[in-house]
Symmetry: C2
Subunit: 363 residues, 2 copies
């Protein structure tokens, strides 16, 4: 077995896992369905109580007129950008070079919608007001991701968001929120979802990250926007006869976890401080601004895999399922704090970090 596989196995078999809400197994869905009346009717091609009530509920939470449930965020966001491009008759949008659209979607936006992307900022930092002010304003839409996942989940200050929003409105550039982790950033901003969303014309939120549902997303905006989004949803093949497994699990885990984000945020700050206390390890951000951060390690992935495996075995605590190479000399992993964290005894956690610290000194 490769050291990568061994690490993953040891992680799964550890008594405790630090990140996340628990294993992604079918129990997650079984739980969500267990107490529901079996006579509840399926949604049918976007219609019916199950889907319409959830869409209304989320529209209200996000402070928008309407919302549409999508099987995936990839589909929802491409469609949002397409609508704004069609409206302005400009096939160009702006976003971060590490946006999901740019690096995880096989260029769907370009290959399916023939939309060109203008990349703002660079791979190492957030999009700033200056970047927006200096960009080619002949774009239909600017997409901002809060938090910017691929750089560890950083956030602009609220005032800067407001300024970006005002600039875009003035220049008639639509502003789309990649809010895959929107609920996760509210404790930092000390704002409601609707307060953040009012800065944006359209919003996507995900239900399988912090919320821990199965999959699925909501796209919200005004009525004209969502009406058109439903047409595109059908074109993409996303208007399934039944989306209820995703909707019911989204709702179930949203209700269960919607008030836990301040706790995850506090725990993430604590956990990051444990990492930063270990020899050679730094987190990005140093002080997290949501439930997530990245852990950076100044050694090759191959060198550290056996080290981490030894920590998990000795302490009974799994820190990360995998390490990812940054370059030949360093690696990183992502941490998202969820329900698991609170279930680990403090002593076990502290022991794990003492072991990690010692072993890092010996590398």
């Amino acid at each position: 077995m490769s050291t990568t596989k061994q690490l993953a196995e040891t992680y799964k078999n550890s008594k405790y896992q630090v990140p996340g809400h628990g294993p992604r197994n079918i129990h997650v869905l079984q739980n969500a369905l267990a107490e529901l009346d079996g006579n509840l009717e399926s949604d049918i091609y976007g219609k019916g109580q199950v889907i319409e009530e959830f869409e209304k509920k989320l529209a209200a939470i996000l402070g928008k007129e309407t919302a549409v449930f999508f099987p995936s965020g990839t589909m929802a966001q491409q469609i949002a950008l397409r609508i704004w491009c069609d409206q302005k008759s400009v096939k160009k949008v702006a976003y971060h070079p590490l946006s999901h659209l740019e690096i995880h979607e096989e260029d769907g936006l370009k290959k399916l919608h023939l939309i060109e992307s203008v990349l703002l900022a660079d791979k190492t930092r957030l999009i700033r007001l200056e970047d927006v002010k200096n960009m080619d304003t002949d774009v239909a839409c600017l997409l901002l991701e809060l938090p910017q996942r691929e750089i560890g989940g950083e956030l602009p200050e609220y005032e800067e968001l407001v300024a970006i929003s005002e600039f875009c409105r003035e220049k008639e550039i639509k502003l789309q929120l990649d809010g895959a982790r929107l609920f996760e950033v509210l404790p930092y901003y000390q704002k409601s979802a609707a307060e953040i969303c009012q800065l944006f014309d359209s919003i996507y939120v995900s239900f399988y990250k912090g919320i821990g549902g199965l999959a699925g997303s909501i796209l919200a905006g005004d009525e004209e926007f969502t009406k058109e989004a439903k047409v595109w949803k059908r074109r993409h093949g996303g208007d399934l006869i039944s989306l209820y497994p995703y909707i019911l699990s989204a709702d179930y885990y949203f209700e269960q976890r919607k008030n836990r984000f301040p706790q995850y945020y506090e725990q993430a700050k604590e956990l990051a401080s444990f990492y930063n206390g270990c020899h050679g390890i730094t987190t990005r951000p140093v002080v997290p601004v949501s439930n997530m951060f990245h852990v950076h390690l100044p050694f090759p992935k191959e060198t550290l895999e056996p080290v981490f495996q030894a920590v998990y075995e000795q302490a009974g605590v799994g820190l990360a399922m995998a390490l990812h190479a940054v370059d030949e000399a360093s690696c990183y992993f992502e941490v998202s704090v969820g329900d698991n964290y609170g279930g680990i005894p403090k002593e076990a956690l502290q022991h794990a970090f003492r072991v990690l610290d010692e072993k890092m000194k010996e590398v």
Copy 2:
């Protein structure tokens, strides 16, 4: 309440419903999951035991090298046609004017893939070998739907299929099977799925029609084809982190019903004969060739809705949830025979048709 709504309500509240497998409620999913081990791990973005095993199983059944699970047939078929168009550098495909792609997908193929459609035959009949021989052969792919749903589920003879397939191979035109109801036509052809599929280069099958799963489809073909299909699946936003609710229910109901299609076919022929025995009513086909057919009625929908409602109330048997206008003077509905049919006492069914016959005479 409108007569349309009243009819639907009366249908649902009838003691027996004639078509289908039963209500589309969440019990369908709860049942499929009930006996599964909760520790079974989710598929993750197209990988993992749950999805890979089902794909392998279906590839073997369809007699193809490989298969890919998709959330919808809309997505699967657009992608199949795109791959064949790209391979030939021709943005043109041929299909029936009542193909799902032409009438139910908001022109996704044209709007997303910029693929032009050549319509063969006309809305009243099947595509024949002659239509294929006479078509512009500068198309990348011909799509055939078996059975042709929108004309009642008609089928060409097997020998004609073979001749069409041979012609396409000779002309280097790919042949895609819209096999949404493939398992439903095997009893008529007296062939295995693989025997039918070997005439085609790529095949789509659905899991929520005769099989009665939740949603989802399989696209099968050779390895190069499915490899590319996975890339397009991601571009479409269909490569969900978890597709298991659809896969597990597809597999569960496939195993439950895979051997029942000959029975549904025999029952459909019996049921069609009951309809054809009623005053003014004809089915298309007169003798069904699968589990489905259409029922045609020579009166306006609005005239017949109260008539059908009265039949359901008097006999306790629901025949159809809705009638659809063909034009101002006539209407029709679709019937698909499933598990419901066998559960209705013969006397109840015969009584219902006697009542229907009498009432039709009075219209």
